[in-house]
Amino acid sequence: MTAALETSGLGKQYGQKWALHDCTLAIPEGKVVGLVGPNGAGKSTLLNLAVGLLAPTSGTIEVLGGRPSDGPSQLGGIGFVAQDTPTYEGMSVAKHLRMGAWLNPHWDSELAERRIKQLGLDPLQKAGALSGGQRAQLALVLALAKKPEILILDEPVASLDPLARREFLQTLMEVVAEHGVSVVLSSHLIADLERVCDYLVVLVASHVQLSGDVSALLVSHYHLSGPRRKRSTLPANQEVIEESHTDKQSVFMVRSDDPIIDPAWIVKPVTLDDLVLGYMRQAREAEPHGRPDLGVLR
């Protein structure tokens, strides 16, 4: 299987600070990938690098086997929805679709018009007059109708109300079911990702903390609780991600390729939520200043 998105030692530096550092990923095709992390972790930076709006300071990135913004065909294979879904305020919905037709050789106007009608958007309404949710839906239609092989969405639902968020994800999943596109979706809301993602990348403080297939990750992580003991007493094949202790009890989250057979433990499976939070906390402890490096890229 070819990789939808592949990076090797990818980094982006602004002045003295690294917005993204030493990022190595190999995301397979046909997945819905959740890119999760706190604000300023580097999610936007990674996605902007993937679509060629930024150039790397170090390392390489390849999307669908080609370098970003290499040419019209590379650009045509990627459908991008930027943070805050920018649109031309003064242009109507219909004119945005015309723009799509003018600027994309593989534009599917029938699909675009059908979806706009399904969404109940008025084609003559100016984009500036649309609600946040409607703009996000318009941006998604624009990204879809160019028939890309991968959709890259930068926090598309962050500023939407719960209903608009749900409707956006419904549309997105319907599209994935119908066309089989790969999706890379960034968010700082784990709940949304839990429903839709089958591949996860956790980005904290400009570094990749965790990446892999969701089902494989859930199967290889365990929640252990039992009588109080030190971390060092755990066997070597159990990597401790998180620990907390009271005077009588210890609770660990561990990663292990082998099943846990120690009878002293109560073993429970981890949820995606636990997993992400655990790795985020682990990263925060490792980070000397205790806060993320950089503000969100404008």
């Binding site: 679509v51 060629g52 150039a55 650009l75 920018p86 723009m99 600027l103």
Partner: protein
């Protein structure tokens, strides 16, 4: 991309067409009257003997329109730079739409090339047409004023170069500054600065001027004057129509002007005359005023030295200056392509 650009540009283009049509109407309505005035009063003024008054009348007619149309040519390129150039890329950054339009299936280079191409050509055409109409309107007046170099930047083809430069600078400023208003301000400052710099520091040196020595004649304006800074000076006006005069001096063979002492003694009788003082403003001075002797003594030792660009070089200057500004525009455009492709952020 061409159709998209045309769509996005449609309102600005409509405004430009509207302004040009308005100018065309004004020029078409008021122009023929000036031609008529010229044909009836100035064309045969020599026979009637009232040339100076006929010329003065034509030269000062429609003064409001003269100012307005002249200013139009100065202002149009600046407006193009401010309103077509500065927002081009800056607006995309400000609204974030660059993240939308540069991820369609069109490369940034092509996007910029089509935008600069269409808007650039339109700008030059607008400036060119405006200049054409204004130059036509002014032609009777220019025939009377014969000082084509003083209205140099309001005629001919230079406006085309100014427009190209203003547009290119505006786009560059917008690209680097990323905000429309500061980019507009920077463009205005740069445009005015460049125009002043070229007008005063470059244009005079584009070609070596001609230096010529002319014997002194008594003509309208030949005079002995009291200058507050340098004392007594002898002045001879220049009469080379449509030339660009760099300097006009009265000097002897070694290049020295007549000293105040010399003039006091040579023009003693003129200076001590009770009637009205030092000037002679008629070609045939009053023989009793003391002026003829004064003149004769000065003319014996001194002549007029004029450094100037001949009228025939006018179009060479127009082409050179246009080429300079178009050249600057091309360099700026090249920079924009490089930046957009390589650097961006």
């Amino acid at each position: 991309m061409i159709r998209f650009t045309s769509f996005q540009f449609r309102i600005q283009a409509a405004i430009a067409v509207g302004v040009l049509v308005l100018v065309a109407i004004v020029v078409a309505i008021t122009g023929p009257h000036l031609i008529h005035l010229y044909d009836t009063t100035v064309a045969n003024c020599k026979a009637k003997g009232d040339c100076s008054s006929a010329k003065a009348a034509l030269s000062s007619s429609d003064s409001f329109l003269q100012t307005a149309l002249g200013e139009l040519l100065l202002v149009v390129p600046a407006l193009i730079g401010l309103f077509w150039g500065a927002p081009l890329i800056a607006r995309e950054f400000e609204t974030g739409t660059f993240r939308l339009v540069w991820t369609q299936s069109v490369t940034r280079m092509r996007w910029l090339a089509v935008k600069l191409g269409i808007i650039g050509l339109t700008s030059m055409a607008v400036a060119g047409l405006a200049s054409l109409m204004v130059s036509w309107w002014f032609s009777p007046i220019d025939k009377v004023n014969v000082s084509q170099f003083t209205s140099f930047d309001e005629r001919g083809i230079v406006a085309i170069g100014y427009a190209a430069f203003a547009l290119a600078f505006g786009v560059t400023a917008g690209l680097l500054i990323r905000r429309t208003l500061p980019a507009m301000f920077a463009t205005l400052v740069a445009f005015v600065g460049a125009r002043l710099a070229v007008t005063y520091w470059v244009r005079p040196h584009l070609m070596a001027p001609v230096k010529t020595a002319i014997p002194l004649h008594v003509i309208f304006g030949t005079s002995l004057e009291q200058n507050s800074a340098t004392g007594l000076v002898f002045f001879e006006p220049v009469n080379i129509p449509n030339a660009w005069i760099y300097s006009n001096e009265v000097a002897n063979n070694s290049g020295h002007a007549p000293s105040a002492k010399f003039l006091e003694s040579a023009c003693h009788s003129l200076l001590s005359a009770p009637s009205g003082g030092v000037q002679s403003n008629t070609p045939t001075p009053n023989p009793n005023s003391g002026f003829p002797e004064c003149f004769a003594r000065v003319a014996a030792k001194f002549h007029q030295v004029v450094i100037y660009q001949p009228a025939s070089r006018y179009w060479a200057f127009q082409w050179y200056e246009t080429a300079i500004f178009v050249g600057l525009a091309v360099i700026l455009a090249g920079f924009c392509f490089w930046w957009v492709r390589r650097r961006l952020v």
